[in-house]
Symmetry: C2
Subunit: 436 residues, 2 copies
Amino acid sequence: MGKLNQMEAAKRGIVTDEIAAVAVDERREAEWIRERVAQGRIVVPANKLHTSLKPMGIGRELRTKINANIGTSPTTSCLNQELMKLDSAITYGADTVMDLSTGDNLDQTRRAIIGHSIIPVGTVPIYELACRGGSDDAIDFSKEAVLSVIRDQAEQGVDYMTMHCGIRPAMLPAARARKLRIVSRGGALIARYMAQTGRDNPFYDYFDDILEICRQYDVTISLGDGLRPGCLADASDRAQFAELAQLGELAKRCREADVQVMIEGPGHIPLDEIEMNMKLEQLWCDDAPFYVLGPVTMDCAPGYDHLTSAIGAAVGAWKGAAMLCYVTPKEHIGLPNAEDVHQGVIAYKIAAHVADIAKHIPGAMEQDNAISDARAAFDWDRQFELALDPEKARALRQEAINERNSPTPLQGTRNGEHFCSMCGAKFCSIRVSKEI
Amino acid sequence: MGKLNQMEAAKRGIVTDEIAAVAVDERREAEWIRERVAQGRIVVPANKLHTSLKPMGIGRELRTKINANIGTSPTTSCLNQELMKLDSAITYGADTVMDLSTGDNLDQTRRAIIGHSIIPVGTVPIYELACRGGSDDAIDFSKEAVLSVIRDQAEQGVDYMTMHCGIRPAMLPAARARKLRIVSRGGALIARYMAQTGRDNPFYDYFDDILEICRQYDVTISLGDGLRPGCLADASDRAQFAELAQLGELAKRCREADVQVMIEGPGHIPLDEIEMNMKLEQLWCDDAPFYVLGPVTMDCAPGYDHLTSAIGAAVGAWKGAAMLCYVTPKEHIGLPNAEDVHQGVIAYKIAAHVADIAKHIPGAMEQDNAISDARAAFDWDRQFELALDPEKARALRQEAINERNSPTPLQGTRNGEHFCSMCGAKFCSIRVSKEI
C-alpha cells in the first residue's frame, strides 16, 4: 500500500498510469487530466487492490459516465443472477457498477463482483452494517463497527463508497415536513438513529477516520444525498439544499486529506429546476464531480422511469452532472432483472450521449455522422454495426420485414439510384432528394 | 357550410361551442381561449364535417399535445391494422392522429379513420397526389390536380393538412450541400419537381386557392417543414431557417384569410440547439403553434428513437412547442405496428407531461402528487390506477413478485407501520423514515 494514491500523485505533478490511461480514453492531454485530478474536478476511482480494473475518469468536462446498480435483496436474487446483471451492464456500456446487495452472503457476492469487474465497483457500506446487525431494526453504529465495515470493503478492492455523511440532526424537521420524507435507505437509517438517540450522524462524527482508510486504499468517497427528494413535491426544498451545503464542506475536507470525492444528487426534480440544481452543486462543492440519480422528471409513470429519468439525466449531464446513476423500468416497482438492467443501461447511454453532443465533447458526434452516411448510402449492415444496440435494431428491422405484405424486393434501384422499399420507391425521400 | 369557422368567429368576439369545450378541458376562461384563437396563438382543428370530433386546442400556453402517425404504405398494412393502431393511439392518449397512408384504397382508409376518430385527423395531401399519379415517378402538379386532392380530403372531414408550401427553388443549393439532403417525403417530391422543371413550388403558387378551400371547411393548415434536418450534422442550417422564414410569411397570410395555421418543426436537433429553434419559430411565425417531430437528439440509436426523441420533445415543449409528433421505436427502421404505436404514444405522453410540469400548466402535477401519496401509504392498487400505463406497471410488479425467492409476505407491518417487502422491512426507507 506504499504506492501514492491518485490525488497525492496528481498534487505532486505525477502522471500516474491510471491518469495516462484516462487521457488516452478521453482524447485529452495527460497533464490536463492530472491538473483536474489534483483540483478534485476529475476523479479516477481505482482502489489499489482492484487489480482487474481498467481505469476511467469522472468529471464534468469528460465524456458523461453512467452507473448501473445491481445487488441482492433479502427477498430476491442470487450470486449467479448478479453476475449476469454485471455482464449485461458491462456489455451494454455501463462505466461503473454499484453492488447494493442487502441479502445473504454479502462478502461472497462482493468479492465475486469485484473479481469479475473491469469497471470500478461502488458500494454503500451502511447496508452491510445493517445486515451485520441481524434481522431486526438494531444497527450497531459504534465507531468500531462502522470503521470495520469500511475497512473490510476497502481491503476487498471497492473503488468508491457511498456514505451519507452530510445528513445532520438540524435537517430532520424539514425532512419530516415532506410528502415522502426520506427515500434514501442509508439516509433513512441514519435519520432514525439520530432521532432516536439524539446523537449526530456517525458517518459525520467518524469522518476523519473514514478519510484515513479511504486515503490508504484510494477509495473514492461518494458523499450520499440522504435527503434527496423522492417525489416532485419534495424537490429543491430546504432539506435537500441544507444537506448539499454540508456535503460541500465535507468535500473540502476530503481534498485536504488527499481523498477523491464525488457528490451524489437527486432524485426527483422537475425539468425546469435541473439546471439550477447542477449550478448550485458546482458552486457549493467546488466543481466536485456530481453523480446524479436520474433525475426522474415526473412521478406517475411507473414502468417507464428509465425514460422519465433519461430526460432528466440528459439535461442534468448537459448542465454539469459528471456521472448518471441509471434507473430501470422496475424503479418504484421491484428489483430489476437482467433485462431491466439492459433497458436501464441503454436509456442512460442515450442520455449520456445526447448530453455529450450538447456539451461538444471531443469526438462525441463521430458515430452519429457515420450512421447518417450509412443511411444516405442505404447501407443497412453498416447502420446496424454503428447502432448503440445492434441486436435490437436488427430484430426490429426483421420484425418490420416479416410484417410486410408485398413481394417488392427490400432493396432496389431506380434511375440508377438505390433505395430500400420500406416506404415504397416512389416515397423514398433519400432516393428522391438525390435527384435535386 | 354557412357556419363561421373558428377563426372568423373568434375574431368577431364569438365563443364557439368548440372554444367553450377547449376552455373547460384546459381549465381556462373561454374568453382567454377565444382571444388566442383570434390571434392565431391557439388553433382548434375541427373540420365542419368531422361530426364525431371532440374538440381540442393546440397552443404553447395549453397542455402539450401529442400526435401519432398511422397509415398504410405500398408494401405494408391494411385497413384493419390501421384501425387497430388508431385505437391503440387513442387508448394511450394521443391528442391527434395523422393518416399518412400511401398504399391502396386511400379514400376508404381515410374515411374509416375519420369516421372512427374522436380526435382531430391530419393528412399530407401530396401523398394522395403522388398516388394518383400511378406507379412511376410522374406526379401531376397542375392546379386542378392539387386543389382537387385538397378539396376531396376537406370534404371527407380532415381537420388539418400538412402542406410543404415554404420550400422554394432558392433553398435547394443549401439542401444539396447536406449530408442527408431532404428527408421529408413531401419536401423531396416538391424539390425534385422544382429542380427538374425550373418552376416554383406549386403549393406556394396556389396558396390563395388552398386558403379558400381551408377557410370554407375550417381545415387547419400545418405548414410542413420540407427542409427539416434528417441528422444532427444538418441541424439548424441555412436551408432549415430559410424555409422557416418563408413559413412565417405564409402563416401571416393564413391568419389574414381566417385560416388557422400551425408550423411544423424538426427533426434531428442537438439538445443545446432546441431552445434557440423554439424561440426563432415564436419570433418569425408570431407565436403560431409549433408542431415538432421529436426532435431526435442523437442519430446512432436505431430501435430507441422514441427515447432519443422524447428527450428532445420534453425540452422542446418546455421551451415552446405546442404539439409533439411522436416517434416510434421503428423510426429509421420500418413501419410501426400497434405495439410500436403504443410505445411511441407512451414515450410522448411522458415528454408532454414532463414539459407541462416544467411549464407550470394548471393541474399538471395533480396525478404526480396523488401517486406520491399512494407511495407513502403503500397503496399499490391506487399507484396502479394513477399510473400512465396501469397494465404495464401491474405486469412489471407481477414479474418482480414471481422472481422473488423468499417466503416473506409482500405487505406487512412492523412497529405498527406498514411496509412492502420488496427491499425487506429493514431497508424500507418509507417505513423507516416514518420513525423520525
